[in-house]
Every structure is written in C-alpha cells, then in structure tokens.
C-alpha cells in the first residue's frame, strides 16, 4: 500500500462510521447514504494532499455534507421526500432490546420511531446541527467547520433546532399521551 493510501487509512477511515451516520441523517435513506459516503471518501482521497487541518473528522464530514448538497442540487436523489414507514423502521431506531412483555416492546418501538420521525421531519440545517452535536458530540467550533458557518450561527441554529424538536415533541405527547415522553 503506498504512502498516501496508508496515511489516508490511518487519518480518515476511522471516521467512516461518523460519516455514514451523518449521511444517513442528511439523506434519510440508507441506499443514498452509501452512495454519498463512497463519493465523499473518494473526493477526500483525491484532495487529501491539500488537507491543512489536523481535524480530519470535521474535514471529511464537511465533504460528506457537500456531496449530499450537490447530489440534492443535481436532483439525483429523492431525499426531499418525507420518511415512509419502511425507512423509519429501517433507519430509525436501531435494534430495540427484547422485552419480556411484547406489548411494552411495541410501545417502546413506537416511541423510538416517533423520535426518529420528528427529527427526520426537521429542516436539513436543523437536522445536521442536532446530529453533529448530540450523536457525534462535536464542539460548536467543529460544527462550524463542518457546516461552513460562524460559531454564532451554530449556536442559534442549535437553539432553534432544539426548540422545534421540543415543540413537536410536546405536540405529540399531548396528541396520544405516550408517543414521546
């Protein structure tokens, strides 16, 4: 393996899972996420020599985001559609631990799906800050680097995203009393 390839392996590939999660939340469809990630990592490899930042994770996530946006622009994907039930089940909550009581398990599954659906229904710029902050545990500075906006904008977007999610959440809980708690 040549030098560039092995440096890339060591510095960038450890962030593949994070890239995949982001792509999945941005595109909201597993098949699209595969394409986005593959394209993003190829691009990252091609421009790896121009990387000036020590933060390879923020760098490659920024490329993932860019690939997602340019694919959207080109209309190659259907990502703007709302989630359907199948995607939710598949993309939403991961494995629900088995519960002794099948009814409790089903309630739990519903709750998880509801949360995935609420977040999936947020606008893209809200979704991305939430995912980067809550799932990837990134700092404001890192999120600013990934999303190419000032830190102040990250703060206000995050606040709006959380407020929107909270509002929907309360709406739903009032709706049937248990969808999200």
């Amino acid at each position: 393996m040549d030098d560039k390839r092995s440096r890339f392996e060591a510095q960038v590939l450890p962030h593949l899972d994070a890239a995949y999660r982001l792509a999945r939340w941005l595109s909201r469809a597993p098949g699209d996420a595969d394409d986005i990630v593959q394209e993003a990592f190829l691009r990252a490899f091609r421009s790896f020599d121009t990387l000036r930042s020590p933060d390879a994770r923020a760098w490659v996530l920024a490329i993932v985001r860019n690939c997602h946006l340019s694919a959207l622009q080109h209309g190659r994907r259907r990502a703007a559609e709302p989630l359907d039930e199948e995607h939710e089940t598949d993309a939403g909550a991961g494995d629900v631990p088995a519960a002794a009581d099948p009814e409790a398990a089903s309630i739990e599954r519903d709750e998880r799906r509801a949360l995935a659906r609420l977040i999936g229904a947020l606008p893209g710029e809200h979704r991305e800050v939430l995912v980067l902050r809550e799932l990837e545990d990134m700092s404001y500075r890192e999120i600013a680097a990934v999303t190419a906006v000032p830190i102040g904008t990250v703060m206000s977007r995050l606040a709006r995203a959380r407020a929107a999610l909270r509002a929907k959440w309360h709406e739903e809980s009032e709706g049937d009393g248990r969808a999200v708690r």
């Binding site: 393996m1 040549d2 560039k4 390839r5 890339f8 593949l16 899972d17 890239a19 995949y20 999660r21 999945r24 939340w25 595969d34 990630v37 593959q38 990592f41 190829l42 691009r43 990252a44 490899f45 091609r46 421009s47 121009t50 990387l51 000036r52 930042s53 923020a58 760098w59 920024a62 490329i63 860019n66 690939c67 340019s70 080109h74 993309a91 939403g92 909550a93 991961g94 709750e111 998880r112 949360l115 995935a116 977040i119 939430l130 902050r133 809550e134 799932l135 700092s139 404001y140 680097a145 190419a148 703060m155 206000s156 995050l158 606040a159 959380r162 999610l165 909270r166 959440w169 999200v180």
Partner: protein, 258 residues
C-alpha cells in the same frame, strides 16, 4: 416570554463556557425557573436522542466497496505519476515545469484561511495547473468538439460549464478533464493558444471571491462569474490573451442563457 439567557444556558449545557462564565450562568439558573426548565428539557432530549438514535456503523459491504475504490484510485494516481508519455506528439508545454511542482509544493505556506481546510484558491489553481502539465495528465477526454466534451462532464464533474472551441480566434479546444478543487470535482476545459496551455476551471461558488486577476510564480489567473458558476483561467499566457478568452466564454454563456 423566554429568558434572554437561553443561548448562554445552552452553551453551559454543551460545555462551551469557561469556568467563570459557567459559574455566572449557573447562578442565573439557580433563580430563573424558565432557564431551569430549559436545562432539564435539554438534558431529557439529549438522553432520548442518544438512547434511541444511534445509527451504529457503516455496513460491512460499504466498507469493503470503499476499500476497493480507494485502492483503484491510489493505483490510478500512481500510474498517472509514473510513465512519461508524450501526448499526441505535441509536447509544446514540456520543459516549462520539471521540478516546478515540487518547488511549489514546498513553498506553499501552510496557512489556515477562511475556507478552513484547503490551501488558498490561487495556490490550488496553480498546483492543479502544474499537475496538468505533467505528461499524460492534461486531458481525460481529447476532442475539439463541444458535443463530445460537454456530455463527458456529466456525472464526472459537479458542474456543467459552457464548452466551445474558439480555434478561429486562436484558442483551440484541446479537451477536458476533472480536477479536485477543495471538495469539488471541477470541470476543466483545456485550450491551446500558440505555445501556451490554458486551463479553464469551472466550479460552484463558495470558495470566497475568486481573484479577477492574480499572479503566482509566473502564471496568471483570471476569474469571472458566468451564470451560476465561477470560472478561472490559468496559464503562462499574457493577461491580454486570458482576457480575450474570458470574453469569448462569457459572451457565449450569456447567449446560451438567453
């Protein structure tokens, strides 16, 4: 009415405050019920999100497909670097650059500017220009016919630029290729003007304002906005020649748009 301290409370929650500010915000939360509620809700929401939404890992098939694609890409780059192939028997640019690429690479200051991750645009353009002058790297599609070159870009580059041959005006279309520019796959049109190669890069705006005119190491860069794309022509040809080509392409773009 929501408390004006919400953003600072959020920053406290996210661990973004220094010790002094954190203490101040905590004191505020101590006697502000609104902010206390906010803090509790943030905590509850994070708990739910982290419990329920972990997407886990990239699928194994993706991982192995990617490894194969990277191997292929690395091998292709290796091949492009190695054998000195004389291109179409007209190496009119050879001799201008041996060692220049290395000198440039060594000389590029490692600075962090507005676009956080990449070298400044002019440096990147010059580096791409020099790379293109290495044997066998100038074109990926060789044609003077815009009906061949334009469709070639589809699916390969991120953009679809104006393509035309201006041989009668002295700028012969040689072909095209794609180059990495920042995170993009830029479309590159290659023109020959006398003994000069002119690379015209077309890419999506977003790298800041490209320079209308810039010079680096004896090469000239002329940039303009055409439609929703940025174009940058790079060459050792003179300003006047670059200006003429810019007008030809920009006029054509304006006509196409009508």
């Amino acid at each position: 009415m929501q408390c004006a301290e919400h953003l600072r409370v959020q920053a406290l929650f996210d661990g973004e405050l220094d010790a002094v500010s954190a203490a101040a915000v905590e004191r505020h939360v101590g006697h502000c019920a609104d902010c206390r509620t906010l803090l509790e809700e943030l905590e509850r929401m994070r708990g739910r999100i982290r419990r329920d939404l972990e997407y886990g890992e990239a699928p194994r098939e993706l991982r192995s497909a990617l490894a194969r694609a990277l191997d292929a890409e690395a091998a292709a780059e290796e091949r492009r670097r190695s054998p000195p192939v004389v291109w179409r028997g007209r190496p009119f640019w050879l001799g201008t650059l041996t060692g220049a690429g290395a000198a440039l690479a060594a000389g590029v200051a490692v600075v962090l500017l507005a676009p956080l991750f990449f070298a400044p645009l002019p440096e990147e353009l010059i580096a791409a220009h020099l790379r293109s002058l290495e044997p066998g790297r100038l074109t990926q599609v060789i044609s003077t016919d815009r009906h061949t070159v334009k469709p070639w870009f589809a699916g390969r580059a991120d953009v679809s630029p104006v393509v035309a041959d201006f041989a009668p005006q002295g700028f012969a279309l040689v072909g095209g290729r794609t180059d990495s520019l920042g995170q993009q796959r830029a479309a590159v049109l290659v023109y020959a003007h006398g003994a000069h190669v002119i690379n015209v890069f077309a890419f999506l705006p977003g790298r800041g304002e490209p320079p209308a005119q810039a010079s680096r190491r004896g090469y000239h860069i002329a940039c303009w906005r055409g439609g929703d794309l940025d174009y940058c022509a790079v060459s050792d040809a003179g300003w006047e020649e670059l200006g003429t080509l810019r007008e030809l392409i920009a006029d054509l773009g304006a006509r196409d748009a009508r």
